[in-house]
Subunit: 136 residues, 2 copies
DNA sequence: TTGTACTGTAATAATTTTAATTACAGTAAA
DNA sequence: TTTACTGTAATTAAAATTATTACAGTACAA
């Protein structure tokens, strides 16, 4: 997972929750976040596949929340962003497999990565987008 | 935090725990992990500042555990690696500060990043390096 | 007392990853 | 039928990560 993706997606979702019912264009969102519109649209793609937003093509189109902010948790956003990757990573190099440790370390690490991701989900699950938005 | 640093440091620590009492050179460790010796020495620096390893300069020098693997938790290693950074990141761009959300989002995100890091520490705290090493 | 094998660290180069940019097909409202 | 969008691909630019080279300092040992 790209570490800043969660920040970008939560920022987008907060904007949508703050101005509910409106269709927001990726250009306007990008202007607010000061990032490229194409990057915004890539993030929106993941959020849409997870059912967190709706989108409308054509003139006056854009995106808006797919359900009430009360029914969206920060964990939902985290999971949408994370996809099948982990927050932590293996080293890109393959360790010496003839070594007792090196031959098995990656599977043990992956197991820890799952635990870590689940711990993050557990801490974010009780936090609603509605509550987060209300801080502003 | 560089996401793969934790993997590298845990791999190193597992090697040291598996062959306790021996002085391991960064060259040998690097050979086992298949990464550059200088990168190993950089990881060792953080582990040493946290008191997790001892080092000896000069011929026949190297590194070894600074205390029993039973008294080292995976959270200790995580914290050594993480330093003052977070597992998650802000976007590198500064959002539109004239926007109600953009002006305050980063401080709210940082607060979540702290919670996330603490959740990871909580899940890793009960796991000792000794137990991890014994899986191999 | 000198060679050898290390740590520790800096500087730089190569590589990979991430973000930005450009471009355009498709869609729907006006 | 023009305009303003989504959606996506391809390419370029920038940033972050990893590797490499180099060398000063240390300690053991012949």
């Amino acid at each position: 997972m790209v570490k800043s993706k969660f920040s970008i997606s939560l920022h987008i979702m907060t904007l949508l929750a703050y101005y509910p019912g409106e269709w927001h264009s990726s250009a306007k969102i990008a202007e607010s976040l000061k990032i490229n519109p194409v990057l915004v649209r890539k993030e929106l793609k993941a959020l849409k596949s997870s059912g967190l937003i709706d989108s409308k093509e054509g003139k006056n189109g854009g995106v808006k929340l797919g359900k009430s902010a009360k029914n969206i948790s920060l964990a939902d956003i985290f999971e949408a962003v994370k996809g099948s990757s982990h927050v932590l990573n293996l080293s890109s190099n393959v360790p010496d497999v003839s070594c007792k440790i090196g031959g098995q370390i990656n599977e043990k690490l992956l197991s820890i990565f799952d635990e870590v991701d689940n711990a993050i989900i557990d801490i974010l699950e009780p936090q609603s987008l509605e509550a987060f938005k209300n801080q502003f």
